[in-house]
Symmetry: C2
Subunit: 345 residues, 2 copies
DNA sequence: TTTAGCACTCAACAAGAATGAATGCTAAGG
DNA sequence: CCTTAGCATTCATTCTTGTTGAGTGCTAAA
């Protein structure tokens, strides 16, 4: 299908910006691409695209950069869907090996994805999305310490011991926990990080040094989340120019990557292929693309790629689609095989 | 013991710099501490200290900062050796709990250390220092891929599969591996990262696309090292002012923390308490302090704290000493107990 | 509808000037 | 002989100012 002139210009802008990380002006486009119209025309089109909310300016007289909406449009209508040959080759190698567990295969595929896209990749453990919190309990051990225990409906237990503030009243703590339990029971694990915030004021009401207790909660929950998410290729993000010079941004992003917020993201995702551009809570610079992965035994997992808003969506999505598709085919094949063997016997 | 005037000034400078991260001048000292002599005297002393190599200037007319040697002197002669009460309290809590494995206790102690010092803490697995490499083998799987396998004298195996460069000759690869094996056999795991560098030229001689193979080696070795080192509180480093604004430095340090170089550091350490200030290979900004930990069953481990050169050595060392001492006492107690129980039966 | 031409905007860079915290040195005082 | 006041000097830091150039929007002609 032929692209309209406007779409063509948008496509060039998005792709050029993804390559250079610099605002794109009308001159730049003329110089780098063979276009049959002048820079003034481009400027007019860019104005229209800006009015449509697909482009943005960093300042009055700068070039344009894509807005979230612009990326979204690019992803939906303009991207090339080309799969890197090296990914095909490498995945081939992984899948042709014998005697590997399913988790091993997924892990290796995830590494390949991360390597090839230069993004961080995240794998969500099977069924972690459905898992629900059954109870939180705080058990005082003695006058100085207590343990907080999380239990989920699938029987997973996580705990954390912490030093008890001195001036704490045991009854207050018990009452407080009752309230919190009522509030959180049945919450899917993936939504817990969001709800944890709501806990804070309750603790503040009941307990003087609430922060110690809250920190223990967070810690326990972090262990929890860590068990469910496998992260690869964090380092890749270091090399993205938008993070290289801004230590503060880098810090925020690394913290986010290892915090339960990431888990929270998955709770929102259920489709085959989800693209989440730049509108993570508090973090405009990060995008997440993820794909559902059907595993043997009716289980379900998600593989995601995390990177700057200015990531190469075409590359990332194509790779992700290809890999999950191949994995699913592979899983089908082995489950067919094991059925056959079952019959023979 | 009374400190000499010179030592007193050095002590103040080191401690002030640790607190503020800013070069310390004679004025600043006068204003912040009660000193019975004038700024001119301080300047004279500072000159002497600089000549002795204990202080440095960042530029001709700046205040002074401690040199590595200055920190070393501070650590050896001037520090306060005061243990934070909160550490005592928290450790108490950990040790008073029942039914914990030794690794669990060490892990928790390490977390406390990291939390209290705001540094990253690292635990080296027992006996990892003595472990030696037995062989490296590359096994071609088919025409496209091969696996590299590391085996140690204690039977630990690590492997990594990689895509084989197309134009590779199998005999060349085999010859090459023979050579590498001869070179590396018996190398303690901790020294492997250093020796890996030496492998590179050999690979270059034999194999055209040597980099792919080398990367696979490194990957396998990284898994290897990762198994042996447990790292906590990486995040703490983010908040150190020296790393906050310099994204590049932060990046280097995080990469170092997750690279086998860290393991290499431990190979040099054998004493009860080792302090390694700022002279890590290529990384002047990082200091490591570590302590030997005798575990039940004649095993030995090390706990380390990693942070910027400008870390609070007093705090870090005191905490480290205290924790290892308490842990060793605790281990003795439980091994005594189990002996007694043995007798009774 | 397209495009050439032009005035205008503004980040980024560079060069200079002012500021002030620090130094080293000298000479006077205990 | 050791200490310290006084002073010229150094140099990072900050602020100001000017210049450059990529980019825009608008107008008028093709």
């Amino acid at each position: 299908m032929e692209l309209s002139r406007r779409d063509l210009i948008l496509k060039h802008i998005v792709e050029h910006f993804i390559k250079t990380a610099l605002p794109v002006g009308s001159q730049t486009l003329i110089q780098n691409y063979e276009l049959s119209f002048s820079s003034a025309t481009i400027r007019n089109e860019m104005l229209a695209l800006e009015n449509a909310g697909l482009l943005e300016k960093t300042h009055t007289s700068s070039g344009r950069i894509p807005s979230s909406k612009g990326y979204q449009y690019y992803v939906d209508h303009l991207r090339n869907k080309s799969v890197d040959e090296r990914i095909k080759q490498q995945l081939q190698v992984i899948l042709s090996q014998k005697a590997q567990s399913v988790t091993e295969i997924i892990q290796k595929s995830s590494e390949i994805l991360s390597n090839m896209t230069k993004l961080a990749s995240v794998v969500l453990g099977p069924n972690a999305q459905q898992e629900k919190l059954m109870s939180i309990q705080v058990t005082p051990l003695d006058n100085n310490s207590a343990t907080v225990v999380f239990i989920t409906d699938s029987g997973y237990v996580e705990n954390k011991t912490f030093v008890l503030p001195k001036n704490i009243e045991k009854e207050a703590l018990a009452d407080c926990m009752n309230l919190i339990n009522k509030r959180l029971k049945g919450t899917p694990v993936s939504e817990l990080s969001a709800k944890m915030e709501a806990i804070k004021p309750i603790l503040e009401d009941f307990i003087a040094e609430h922060d110690v207790v809250y920190q223990a909660f967070i810690q326990a929950f972090l262990n929890f989340a860590g068990e469910r998410l496998k992260l690869y290729g964090k380092h890749s993000l270091f090399n993205q120019p938008e993070f290289a010079h801004d230590g503060d941004k880098l810090r925020k992003i690394l913290t986010l990557l290892e915090s339960p917020k990431l888990l929270h993201h998955f709770s929102k995702s259920s489709g085959n292929l989800e693209v989440n551009i730049g509108d993570q809570d508090q973090n405009q610079d990060l995008s997440i693309v993820s794909s559902k992965l059907r595993m043997p035994g009716e289980k379900e997992s998600r593989i995601a790629l995390v990177g700057p808003t200015r990531m190469d969506y075409d590359r990332a999505l194509s790779a992700l689609e290809y890999v999950t598709e191949m994995l699913e085919k592979y899983f089908e094949k082995i489950s067919d095989k094991s059925k056959e063997e079952g019959k023979r016997k």
